[in-house]
């Protein structure tokens, strides 16, 4: 479904990715693990068109994505939920969600989208009229995820959903992501630690200094304590 081949990228003179290749198959949940600052987020930004790679190709269902604008990539069904709380702070929760349905097709059925997201995160419905900046950290994360689900998603990309959240909230967020992927949605998830992803990943990539060091079956890799501690500390 998604095939990243030999992608290199960086910011100015600083090369961050050194020819990485990976793939996500239809219906699969893939997790990228690696310490902070080693290129995971950059790879995601390349996939969603925010960063132009200096080399390599990204194909989604056989179509080249490199050189496409972010809005065209969203139109193809790739939804990237970025790191941190990138919500629209001075808009209401409801308007934030509606922006997730910006694409014309999704806009027509935005009511259904809202129902779907509210069913998943009842908290967001309660807070529907509040400004997004008044939400707690966990609620913002849910809002960012919910906003991503408003359109026609085929591949969901989530960048460090656990970042900066309390343990209890992290569990809620991961439970929600699990619930979403149960309907056969493909998932590409990035995390710093292996703690939360057990039981939801099919395959795992270990990333270090802009390259993939290991790739493999989730059960196998996540079970290997020695390996994990080598790469993730």
């Amino acid at each position: 479904m998604l095939r990243v081949s030999d992608v290199s990228a960086g910011y100015g003179a600083a090369q961050v990715l050194h020819g990485v290749s990976m793939h996500v198959d239809a219906g699969e949940s893939v997790v990228l693990l690696g310490p902070n600052g080693h290129g995971k987020t950059t790879l995601l930004r390349v996939i969603s068109g925010l960063v132009r790679p200096s080399g390599g190709s990204v194909q989604f269902e056989g179509e080249e994505l490199v050189g496409r604008k972010p809005e065209e990539i969203v139109a193809a069904g790739i939804v990237h939920i970025p790191q941190g709380d990138l919500v629209f702070p001075m808009m209401t929760v409801r308007d934030n969600l509606l922006m997730g349905a910006y694409r014309r097709g999704a806009w027509k059925v935005r009511k259904d989208g809202l129902d779907r997201v509210y069913a998943l995160f009842p908290r967001l419905q309660e807070r529907g009229g509040q400004l997004a900046r008044s939400l707690s950290g966990g609620e913002r994360r849910m809002l960012a995820i919910g906003r991503g689900l408003m359109g026609d998603v085929r591949l969901l990309i989530v960048d460090e959903p656990s970042l900066g959240l309390a343990p209890q909230v992290i569990e809620d967020v991961y439970a929600a992501i699990k619930a979403i992927t149960r309907d056969g949605l493909s998932l590409l998830l990035v995390d710093e630690s292996a703690n939360h992803v057990e039981g939801m990943a099919d395959r795992v990539y270990l990333m270090e200094t802009g390259e993939f060091r290991r790739e493999g079956n989730a059960a196998e890799l996540l079970g290997d304590e020695a390996l994990l501690s080598t790469y993730l500390g």
């Binding site: 925010l50 969203v74 990138l86 629209f88 922006m99 910006y102 408003m150 359109g151």
Partner: protein, 292 residues
Amino acid sequence: MGQLLQAVWGGLVFGSVYGLMAVGLTLIWGSLNLLNLAHGAIYVAGGYVAYTLMVSLGFSAVFAFAGAMLASAALGLVLYAVVVLPMLGKPGWDNASWIATVAVSLVLESALLLAYGPEVRAMPAAIEGAFVVNDVVFRYQAILVCAVAVVLLVLLHLFLKTSRFGLAIRAVSQQMDASRLVGIPVALVFLIVMGVSASLSGLAGAMLTSILALSPTAGFVPMLKALIVTIFGGLGSVKGTIVAAYVIGLLEAFVQAFAGVAWSLPALFLFIIAVLLVRPQGLFGTPELQRL
């Protein structure tokens, strides 16, 4: 009492026009982080286009206003192509961008000077005449200006609050990356914002120059007042800008009525200096977030 009411009415008229101009400045500031100092030149260009259509070519006022809006929207797009496209996202945008708009405004104003000469022109009113109630003179032109401005500001407010594209404009101004990731075509949003804001300024120019005067540099003072309005309203807040426009308009009208015309700009500056010392984020601006 008559003088007071006359001042209130004058304030509403001024406020309406400042609102039209200031909303454009706010939109551009909010979404592009650009202080557009060519706004005044576009205002004047709108005035001259309307003047040409009405006086030289004999079209009706409606055509003249529509022509002014179209022409200044086109200028906004030119500004986008010339200034924004080559510079946006490059280092130094904060400073270089407003200087570039000063340059564009110099070019535009001097082109108008070459085309029309330095003399002050009298722009005819769209509707002549006036009526008097309790010693207060209501000129039809002033009523028209007020009505058109209020309708447009309300429409703009609704557009930004409820429509798909309006929400997208606000989204872009608040979180650019997130906007890209939900599929908002950011470049198109910028283009539309520049076009809409320029066309509102052009319309303000077409309408107000029949009350004030039309000359190549006549846009500078209205632009300054619009800037004061924008900052008073809290840079980037559309609602705040509209409220601020009427407050500033009323203030100016009172100063003019009771202290003389020469005092209106100094008084407004003193006012905004005082406001910013007390409340640096303006009326409706939020301290940590100076956006739409």
